[in-house]
Symmetry: C2
Subunit: 419 residues, 2 copies
């Protein structure tokens, strides 16, 4: 084993792009993830809202590299990094030595110091999160159908989404469509069209990453779908009874948290400075300050663009960083000069609102409506991994488009009836 | 609400057939199930073995009757039945009054008084069971890849299936194929072809419901796939270390229980006699003895055929009973004479062994090999509910057939790394 050993922690968009691009570099690679699967997070909300099934957006990482004998996959969770001895220690105590280390460990949702809200207001980062939210959503309708208490019924039929970024907007739109279009004919005691979907945002508008006119368009589409949009309203309390938004209390039994991002502990492992969201502040070549053989990429890295703005925490940015680090490592292995500093190229922003509308912002070209929805759909299918998933997701969407029926309306996990 | 109210408990094959056939009867129907979905149990083992995803074999019950306004669906679990006051009481304390009651509450796996084995030897009756087994199966390979202890590695790569009925045979065949064909190229430290799959059966042969020549054929196919078949060997102990089979101890970390059936508590709720497996012994018209307005059908009923043999606990038998009870109820509502006593018509037996072979027994015609496999596959697709599921399952199978790659190899649920 005389080869250079690259250890990559995290099999998300950045980590996989890196491993893909290191093909042929001669390096031995170990890819560590605490999950056995790569998750296509941009579509996770569709699992939470019964459109897609879990296996359509997740792939066993190990399988992706079955034809790359130099790549080993390890199911494990990093506990600490020894940057002097150059090894990572996993939860089970085992150590993995590296020559080059790349941390691509992502981020999770943040409660701004109110972690006690998590049980009542779950976020959406993993497949388990998605099936938890799906279960709560479907159980709320089931319980509303059987209860004889009108106040409880109304609270069960009220769904609050906190945070109006792309995930919050997508969740609110789909839940409204589910309640208003898919479910009405299936219930006998309740009218699911009376469901209230509340989208609460502390900032001044929905989809703040887009231009104000696209935000306004999105808000209009949401309101047409039956979503109540509350902007400029920070949430001050979440409980099993509801959500406090400024002076207003929304009585509801289902809350989904789509606000705030907290980076993984990569900065702590390396003892390097982090920004407010916990992201490791890295050098222009994405190395950790003072540690030339350690890179940090993706949602757990804080990188500035030339204009001073932060590189956004989205899949294309993570992929560009993965590709860049592969280039740096290959240059080093060949003894070639170091590449230019990393520069992020923004390729455009996309967001859907329900099953028929979307917004697309390519800078000069801005699109809305069904044309934008088709571009959004094709782009997402294109970025899925493998022919099988592309066909499966395209088929699921086509089915819903034609029939209006969602296929993955399953309540699973043990606590089904007791929650 | 002057209509006759039929309460059906259990949305399995029997319960759904009954509700389907009561269409147009004029009865008001309430269908109670503790799950929100009907499960196509004959293919559940394919979820456990990463071939199918959960939503391909489960459908929201509520949706099946969205065009039947007289049918209400209730998510709930029965606690007791008051046959005098004619009502069922649910776990949450609510009561549902009935004019006619049909209990179709199925069965679960039985440990013959050794329920303490369940945590180490899970059975396969629910979607959660299937994802639990899938997780253990995949984690065993992951842990074998990382361990440095040769004895532990061997135990991790040994899988014991207890019970060689159709489910046990199907599980053993697929696990052997997974280990020997699908996974070898993905692991670097272990050779998954060294995996041992042990199929342990207390009776004298595998698939005892088939003729001895078909049993012998099935055993031969299993052995070719790399399964070790142990017949005439009762299991005397299960633990986290392995399985004791007579004088032999099999060191293994993954056990799946596919032996024994225990009926639901229907007989206890009605205080009527049950057979050894707990099945309610019913009259020739499937009513509970002495309770003309209570029927018991499917896996929770003990019904004799003309030749004295018990009606088997399989989907077609439950469906025939559901259809029969619908006929009885309709006759009563019309004041017509009661139909002839229930007679079970056996339409044939099918079982698969891995992805290429099956056995089919239509009485006069017996088939084996790939022709039997195609018949098995087409029959199962035919019996799935809805065009969407048929296409999705056919597509999943075709994909595996052509590519050899399983699509649902996901380890999910919280305890991923700690188990």
């Amino acid at each position: 084993m005389g080869e250079h050993h690259v250890v990559v922690v995290g099999g998300g968009f950045g980590g996989l792009q890196l491993v893909n691009d290191l093909k042929g570099s001669g390096a031995r690679i170990t890819l560590i993830d605490r999950r056995n699967h790569h998750l296509f997070q941009p579509l996770l909300y569709q699992v939470a809202t019964t459109i897609l099934s879990t296996s359509e957006i997740a792939w066993p990482i190990r399988h992706l590299y079955n034809d790359r004998p130099e790549v080993s996959t390890l199911l494990g969770e990093v506990n600490s990094v020894d940057t002097v001895g150059k090894s990572v220690t996993l939860r089970d105590g085992s150590q993995v030595a590296y020559d080059t280390l790349v941390l691509a460990t992502g981020a999770t949702h943040a409660y701004f110091g109110r972690d006690e809200w998590e049980p009542v207001a779950p976020g959406l980062k993993t497949l388990e999160d998605a099936t938890t939210i799906r279960r709560r959503l479907l159980l709320a309708f089931e319980r509303a159908e059987t209860t004889t208490d009108p106040a409880l019924r109304e609270a069960l039929l009220t769904f609050t989404i906190v945070g109006a970024g792309p995930t919050g907007v997508e969740l609110a739109g789909i839940i409204a469509e589910l309640a208003h279009k898919t479910l009405p004919s299936e219930f006998r005691s309740i009218d699911t069209r009376k469901t209230k979907v509340m989208l609460v945002e502390a900032g001044p508008r929905v989809l703040a990453g887009f231009s104000p006119d696209l935000s306004a368009y999105a808000q209009g589409v949401l309101e047409n779908l039956g979503v109540s949009v509350l902007v400029g309203k920070p949430v001050t309390q979440c409980s099993s009874e509801g959500v406090q938004v400024g002076d207003d209390f929304i009585a509801c039994r289902t809350i989904v948290w789509a606000a705030g991002v907290q980076a993984s502990a990569a900065a702590q492992w390396l003892s390097i400075p982090a920004d407010r969201a916990g992201r490791a502040i890295v050098a222009k070549d994405l190395t950790a300050p003072g540690l030339a053989d350690v890179f940090v990429i993706g949602d757990t890295a804080s990188v500035s663009q030339d204009n001073g703005a932060a590189v956004p925490g989205i899949a294309p940015a993570a992929k560009q960083q993965g590709a860049y680090v592969a280039k740096v490592i290959k240059a080093r292995l060949k003894g070639a000069p170091a590449p230019q500093p990393f520069r992020y190229r923004h390729q455009g922003s996309l967001a859907t609102i329900g099953q028929r509308a979307a917004i697309v912002d390519f800078g000069k070209v801005k699109l809305t409506g069904s044309i934008a929805w088709w571009i959004w759909g094709l782009a997402h299918i294109y970025f899925l991994i493998g022919t099988r998933s592309r066909l499966a997701v395209a088929w699921s969407w086509l089915w819903i488009y034609l029939s209006g029926q969602h296929s993955a309306r399953l309540i699973t996990q043990k606590e089904t009836l007791r929650e």
